[in-house]
Subunit: 333 residues, 4 copies
């Protein structure tokens, strides 16, 4: 096992580097001040280099993709698993066994257990020096950041929450099927995973942990014909006595030191375009009587995947939480 001095340069690898989250992680780690990108695992791109495939500049651009199993020879200090659930289930234990830190982006270890659930702002203390992190799903990241502080502060009733979220198509990863073709997806909009989306278990678990009791949640995701971004609209009821001021106070207190949560003046001022390309989660809320509504937006591939993974790596390694994530330019001028 290694002991690191803070700010020492560490060697980090990505397995599943040719998926959308893996590509995004490659871009982020290629310019990280404390991490050296030292391994890119992908059968698809094995033998090609990051400069040719992703246009990455400098030293990281010269890194050549290798079969995933080759990670062992790369003398890594940490690995990001941007792999499907079954692949993560195989790789994570072996990597951990060698004393190498793992941040897994799949749903494999989000059910609780040995991995720390990597909702950075909520579990910052658990994440400090964590050896094994289960990075949250993209929808849960947007939804939990809007709801956890209010359930924790007992401002929101846990039995009346209805969440509707829209997402760009990169959230589903690379797809080689006709259903995901441009001609089929464009100009169409559909809900899916009604009453049973695969992110529901982690949503219920983390919301329940915050509320101190079980949470009754309807969550409806909807696929949009855009590339990136999630907008979640969460509707609920405040408990008696709670009001907009208390809600604002709860958010401010929860996110006082959070570099990547930004509060908007109103739900209508939260737009996907403000966050796409960045690691930000932007939240705006409104209260009418005891009705509460919040909109929260993230980039599904950054704060919803690779960006939060890097944020968790930063926390786990004792680096500045925002290292390599602060000056990400959003994609809209």
């Amino acid at each position: 096992m290694h002991i690191y001095a803070r700010n020492m340069q560490l060697r980090v690898g990505i397995i599943g580097a040719s998926g959308y989250a893996g590509m995004e992680a490659t871009h982020l780690l290629a310019r990280h001040p404390h991490a050296t990108l030292a391994f890119l695992g992908s059968d698809r791109w094995a033998g090609r280099c990051a400069r040719d495939v992703l246009g990455i500049d400098g030293e990281a651009g010269a890194l050549v993709y290798a079969p995933p199993a080759a990670w062992e020879e790369a003398e890594l200090d940490a690995v990001l698993l941007a792999t499907p659930e079954d692949v993560s289930l195989q790789f994570a234990p072996r990597i951990l066994e060698k004393g190498v830190r793992v941040i897994d982006l799949s749903p494999a270890f989000r059910k609780g257990g040995p991995a720390v659930y990597g909702l950075s702002e909520r579990y910052r203390h658990r994440l400090a020096d964590a050896r094994f992190v289960a990075n949250p799903g993209c929808y849960p990241t947007a939804i939990l950041l809007a709801l956890v502080p209010l359930l924790e502060a007992r401002l929101l009733r846990p039995d009346e929450i209805v969440v509707h979220a829209v997402s760009g198509a990169t959230g589903a990863g690379r797809r080689a099927s006709e259903d995901w073709s441009f001609c089929e997806l464009s100009d169409d909009v559909r809900a899916y995973g009604i009453f049973g989306h695969r992110h529901l278990p982690e949503l219920r678990r983390i919301l329940g942990e915050a509320a101190g009791e079980e949470v009754d949640l309807v969550f409806t995701p909807t696929l949009l014909p855009i590339r990136r971004g999630i907008l979640a609209t969460s509707v609920g009821r405040l408990v008696p006595g709670a009001d907009a001021d208390a809600v604002l106070q709860a958010y401010r207190s929860a996110y006082a030191d959070a570099p990547f949560v930004s509060l908007a003046a109103a739900p209508g001022e939260v737009g996907i375009a403000q966050v796409v390309g960045t690691n930000l989660c932007r939240i705006g809320f409104a209260v009418q009587g005891n009705r509460f509504l919040a909109c929260s937006a993230i980039d599904n591939l950054v704060k919803g995947a690779a960006g939060q993974a890097v944020q968790n790596l930063n926390l786990a390694c004792g680096w500045d939480e925002g290292a390599g994530l602060r000056d990400l330019r959003r994609f809209r001028p």
Copy 2:
């Protein structure tokens, strides 16, 4: 006052013919079997003809746009007002006074009063021979068709309804502002009208009429970077004893003779692309415990505006309800 034999050819005019709903109405009436398009009122296009502006074929294509006030000389039997609220407030009484039928697409007369609320499937009997119709808003059309039969049948609790709806940008009409420019809207998604959208009053009124009591509704519209289509996701709770079978029965009974409502096997099988270009409303629902969820989709410019106006014209004139609307090709192959 005129008395019409069924299937006699009537002269119909459109005021506000250069707005998106007016243009759509022009296309529909140009090919209507019983209506003769006899007046196109638009200052913007005054002096040009429908063939040049909209590519309309045949006789209707030769019709020349005229200033709106010229409607009086056109010897019309009916007028579609595809005008802003304030213009409708001026024109409707004058036109009615002359014994000419009015179908108003603006919100001006949706609050109740002299006009029949033109949700065709719900108020078919009131619409028969109606002289004055207030055509519903686009969001209300999609939402009411999904909820009214269940409230009417006392299957759904009226105090727990949360509706989220996404809409294409044509729903807002022609806009000459920077906020509605391609560069600002594309790739962005935002909610708006939080707790106070202008369609709320008509939603509350018609839902309350169906439920026999006041309805507590949260309605959140969201603007999408697509041109056409609305998908409404309505979440509620069934009353004790109600179940999926009862819901299905209520829909089947309400829409037994409705040519433009189509039931899908599940909410996830309701897509905007299935209805854009047509006068259809497609509805799919699911039940889990006492939780109810329905997705309903329409084309905001057809069933949500010009198509339903023509459907109402058909009902008011005693024609086949689907005249001129049956064989509309959807825009997706």
Copy 3:
């Protein structure tokens, strides 16, 4: 072999009915005044009906898709082959052998030979009573309609033609590959088929026939992240003595009786949105010195495929050339 009285109702089938061109043809023939849609061949959709799959109303909606080979039992008068080249090569001879008219939408028979090349406006006389038609490709339709009249009239030099054309993604048909996924195509633009697109042979053949000599052509197609529509920009040089008036005269003369060619005042007034959904080809040109430039636009699935196939069916059967095609509503209000 059958002998038809004009305007007798004929039985028409589509093989390859679940492809994009086949779906479009289904919509068109379902509402055709003289053709009865009598067979829909598709393995993919075998057993389902056109109402469920495409939302088609009326009798045609009840038609059930069948395996392609079942065409023989359907007592057809004509078949549209909306099939890949190799399938057309198999089916066409067998169908013709039975005395059934064939309109083939694939490139299989466009090289000359037994089939009449179905550029309707150019070969109207050959198409009258034709038993076998090779429907043109989508790019050639847009380009040939802009260039043939000028080469025929010896106004344009045949050795200096450079054509650039952009197309929506439906032009490539249904695709189940990652390269054609929404996430890969959206926001990207690329040229392809440089110096060797599969439509080049038919372009050279028909242009050469018009010019009376070989034509030197550079043709560069470019794929756009939109669903439908082709815009072709053709640049060339006029022969000495030719001018804008002569060009206009040539177009007017060539398209005097053409219901589906529309001349615009300038190339910049030719937009894809004006034609998508319709069978129109819109052409605008400009001349500067001896430089000539034309923009021409079509809907790749209508005038570029299924619409022109129906137009050719009309011509072959002696019906009105525009039967079933005149009142197609364009997709943009």
Copy 4:
């Protein structure tokens, strides 16, 4: 007049900071290693800060927008004018007079005269220590980088060049008109500026300078319903004796030390998505007989505007040409 030591931190301002190019320049300069963003001139945003408006992090985020005329109090070493032509004509002389370096992004000074034409790769030597730079237009940047080396090397005939270029809508800047609304632009494609686009003069001037004689050019720009990116397809004829090898050699020699030009193996491997977000120009070519074709792609707001302006600032200040531009993440994972 100042004398700078290399790598000394300089104070740079942007006038026109709320336009698309100005916003992009703000993002770039906010993270530049040698420039301190010291002034943001915009009447529209006066009083707000860059963090609130653009989400910019760190010190630059605290910078408050001021009326353009306030530049004089900001003690600037250099100014980027991201202003309309007429505003640049007013501001540039006054700023230069004070000994402050000016990089003008408008067409005002591209006709030759006191300003160096800022096509970085071509005029790197003239740009060293330049006090006044006329930044090229977006289309010319993409086209000139593809053609200048070949004309310079006398490989391409100057009398047979046909260029077709497609551009995203941000190229036209912020627009508050209906014609530029989402509903009008989306799903449409049109050419414009036929035979007379405002970029033609600078194209002719720079191409002529490279060729040593006048160049006969047809240039047709086309507006696409996407936000960013230009793809230019240039077609011409090689001079006798020239071939693909000679072309490749000319490009390699011209761009041997160019960090932002990237050669692709073929024109079909040049896609807008590869460059959007970066300062790259990607070029691919093909030769068939004496026919030459090249595709070149840039991000119209980066290499086509703000990025090249920063590149020119780097060259003028004697900094590393790629400072602040090397690790720009492209917008597509």
